[in-house]
Symmetry: C2
Subunit: 241 residues, 2 copies
């Protein structure tokens, strides 16, 4: 049985995980690319796909799927996917933990930091009305204080948890097995951001976390995923000219 | 087979869900109560239980479980729980969606609002150093602007999604069935906050959402859960005197 799959992809977003999963599963898919507005928000076209206006959204045989953890679960349930055996057979406790923890804990701190960073800049640029020089300085000071002392401190604790788990499971994935699972697919997004994305150099990252990322990047499906992602973004840019 | 269960409960936190689930499952459990510090953070004693310093944490037969979605999944997997039949038999797609969506989407907006509200107050009270009257006003203006225009707007869209789903599944739970499931247990926390907690009166809440909450509150297990919660908090207060 073949499936009709459309991946609605927003640049620099959680949708990069789905490229990995779809390549790993060996499922053919088409991609629709959206670009963030200058302020970082998703474009209005994304709201036409799904009221949240966020990415990823996946169409699976005509059904609209949202929410990363839930989309990954649904795609892993396609037992007829040619590459299904490349991934953890049945989602175990470890994978399920990291899948929930990734968005429910780690990303809440990362995302709040990004939100405060972006929105304080917008506010200082006048999005909330005119602001004095002294007010400007205070809002900047507050944003720095909360992202560093409150959110940064919490993020650090969470990154140490990742490192401790991987160090205690040498050579394994977040599934606790030799094959990546639900938890690994979810963790790609925040961990990649620490090495190659918006969080590069902002946190101390341990050797076991680095080893996980290197091992993931060496997988043929991941290489294909990032090639496809780059090609789709480039192609869409051209078609928009 | 009987299980040894300890629920580490922080007042006004996500751990209230676990009272519901444990009562519904008919599993005996002991409770350890922690109280938030005046600023809202968890007390240092919670860090001794788990490095995150957050709640809930559940000890299940000697194993330490964290992360709400994952804890709920683990407890639902105890097929020998006397009340297991009160809940959705096997977690279906709908329940799994709401379980991920609850923390991964809705709560990220709710929590960022609470974070900005609490931390801006702390900052204005001097947590980040002295601040001028004009700086004070600007930080307050920024906090109001971002929680109302950015986070409030997103939260509203998400509450409309809840209402739309429940209205399309009259009389059903978030499981899509006649029995509550994983998604319902997770959704108790944010929905209760809209009617009886910190978000009361702050958002328009639709009739289908209200009907869900009334139906949940009428369940004997939920009544017992909130009675037990109140009793445990009260008991611990007395023992601290």
């Amino acid at each position: 049985m073949s499936h009709q799959i459309v991946l609605h992809h927003l640049n620099a977003s959680r949708s990069e995980r789905l490229f990995w999963l779809l390549e790993e599963l060996g499922l053919p898919y088409t991609v629709k690319v959206y670009y963030r507005l200058p302020g970082g928000a998703g474009p209005p076209e994304l709201k036409k796909v799904h009221p949240f206006g966020r990415a990823p959204v996946v169409e699976l045989d005509g059904e609209l799927l949202a929410e990363s953890g839930s989309i990954v679960r649904r795609l892993l349930a396609l037992k007829d996917a040619p590459g299904r055996e490349n991934l953890e057979d049945v989602t175990g406790d470890d994978s399920a933990f990291w899948s929930h923890w990734c968005e429910g804990s780690l990303m809440t701190f990362f995302q709040a930091s990004a939100l405060i960073g972006g929105s304080s800049q917008a506010f200082l640029a006048g999005a909330g009305g005119p602001i004095s020089e002294e007010g400007n300085k205070s809002v900047g000071d507050y944003a720095t204080w909360v992202t560093t002392n409150v959110l940064g401190a919490q993020s650090k604790v969470h990154l140490q948890e990742i490192e401790a788990y991987l160090a205690a499971h040498p050579g394994k994935y977040f599934s606790g097995t030799d094959k990546p699972g639900e938890g690994d697919i979810l963790m790609l997004f925040p961990i990649r951001s620490l090495f190659e994305g918006s969080r590069k150099g902002k946190f101390e990252v341990g050797p076991a976390t680095k080893a996980w990322f290197d091992k993931v990047k060496a997988r043929p499906a991941v290489k294909k995923a990032f090639e496809r992602l780059a090609k789709e973004e480039e192609g869409q840019k051209k078609s928009n000219l």
